[in-house]
Symmetry: none
Subunit: 251 residues, 2 copies
DNA sequence: CTTGACTCTGCACGATATTGCACGAAACTA
DNA sequence: TAGTTTCGTGCAATATCGTGCAGAGTCAAG
């Protein structure tokens, strides 16, 4: 294990998990704690991370915020993202919507995956800069700041030229009757367009989204191919989504 | 085993495995470590890989790359960015190129500025999400990970539809004779296109960029309207840039 | 064919980097 | 406050680095 390799790994772990415990990490890598501590000290000296008692946190406060939120709300989204990332096969063209769950998905893409990721979210694009083999196609347009995704006519036109194998859709609600919904009309239209351009649409749904509904419908439930959700939800919540045309993946 | 053969093999291993340990590799090839070290040093000199203690890593992992670049004189860049941000007037349409200096510019945009920022850099877009009144137009395309900007035909087409008042260009070198240059051909083409679509081109140049030249010319110096740089540079460095058509802003 | 310039390679050696351990200081926890 | 964990530093062992140098091979001019 090369020193710089180890340092790169440390930063990767911080990006992915939002924190790093010195002792834990030293055991995982089979080196002494001193070595890890030294690495952390040096990286902190370069401003690349924030040193804390017992380990380290990401440098930027924004990421730190995000990381702590993640810890509090547990790593449900990370688990969903990880499961979803495994659905992608090499050579596929996948559309990644914006949103924190999809950021997790991007973070957990297998290191050796060769695929094309299309996205209208600059956050996702930035996240994938660190991936060694995934090619990123960024869709432009007017930036809708609330969701951090591009929308508008330019965006729609660019999307209409692309056909994807998979679409990982972000949404605020998924309901047996109202279908998949979100809070912005234009965003809904864009998502709908992407869904129509994709062979299969996948929705990653945390507990609070299942059975919820927002003002604007993106697609009816019949247009969704797969829903990825947690396995510890009650059957009464899941039952409405069990049907012949929809694959329900429980993580 | 020819030297060039060995060097090619080294690069192949790096592409395939993402790392190379000098000792290990020398044994596998049956040559001395010195030879391998020499090869690595030379390849690193050509920028084809990143030399590290014990071996080598791929050149543009962009990971530590961008992060470390971020660190290089960030306070200087912040001052340049701040000065440049003041050049923008309300109501203008400005094009913000990628790069760490321009991230600083984005960070220092006056809070009450009402303007449209066009960018092909997802990093810049994400940075501006928190600005209350600036509207962001994201230009899409294939993501060039090293610089974190969109490039390619789609990108060029989108740019050709926009006319901006100001273009804050990122570059790796600005030289009286070779003009403004950068390290990637396609990136240079995109930057050139943006410059042609803009009424005025501004270059933010830290000390090491002034008088430097990279392989690909973006525009000749005569196409640059303003250069923003530090005031503590020697006159012998600045003199070649003092001319009637170019405004030299010293911060 | 010989000679001289040049390149490549391996070796020697002093310099530098990295690592693990020891030990007292500081921080955290109950 | 007391006990435990983590931290930082000094130190020694080891690994790796860079450089100078010499031998071997190549090539072209004489």
């Amino acid at each position: 294990m090369l020193t710089s390799e180890r340092k790169a790994l440390i930063q990767q772990v911080l990006r992915r998990e939002g924190r790093l415990v010195a002792k834990e990490f030293s055991q995982k890598l089979g080196v002494s704690e001193d070595t890890i501590r030294r690495d952390l000290r040096e990286l902190a000296g370069e401003g690349l991370l924030q040193r804390v008692h017992g380990g380290a946190l990401p440098a930027s406060s924004a990421v730190a915020d995000f990381a702590s939120r993640e810890q509090v709300g547990s790593s449900v989204k990370a688990r969903l993202g990880q499961a979803a990332a495994r659905m992608i096969q090499s050579g596929q063209i996948v559309f990644l919507d914006g949103g924190t769950t999809n950021v997790q998905l991007a973070r957990h893409l297998p290191h050796d995956l060769k695929a094309v990721v299309v996205t209208h979210s600059p956050s996702i694009a930035v996240e994938l800069v660190h991936h060694p083999s995934v090619e990123v196609e960024l869709i432009g347009g007017r930036l809708f700041k609330h969701s951090i995704v591009a929308v508008g006519a330019t965006c729609a036109k660019a999307i209409s030229r692309i056909r994807a194998d998979l679409f990982f859709m972000g949404a605020t609600g998924i309901h047996p009757e109202t279908g998949v919904t979100t809070g912005d009309r234009e965003e809904a239209a864009i998502k709908n367009l992407i869904a129509r351009q994709s062979a299969e649409t996948v929705v990653l749904a945390t507990r609070e989204k299942l059975g919820a509904a927002s003002p604007y419908q993106i697609v009816p439930l019949s247009d969704v191919g797969t829903v990825v959700t947690m396995s510890d939800l009650g059957e009464e919540v899941l039952a409405p989504f069990r049907s012949s045309h929809l694959t329900l993946v429980e993580v």
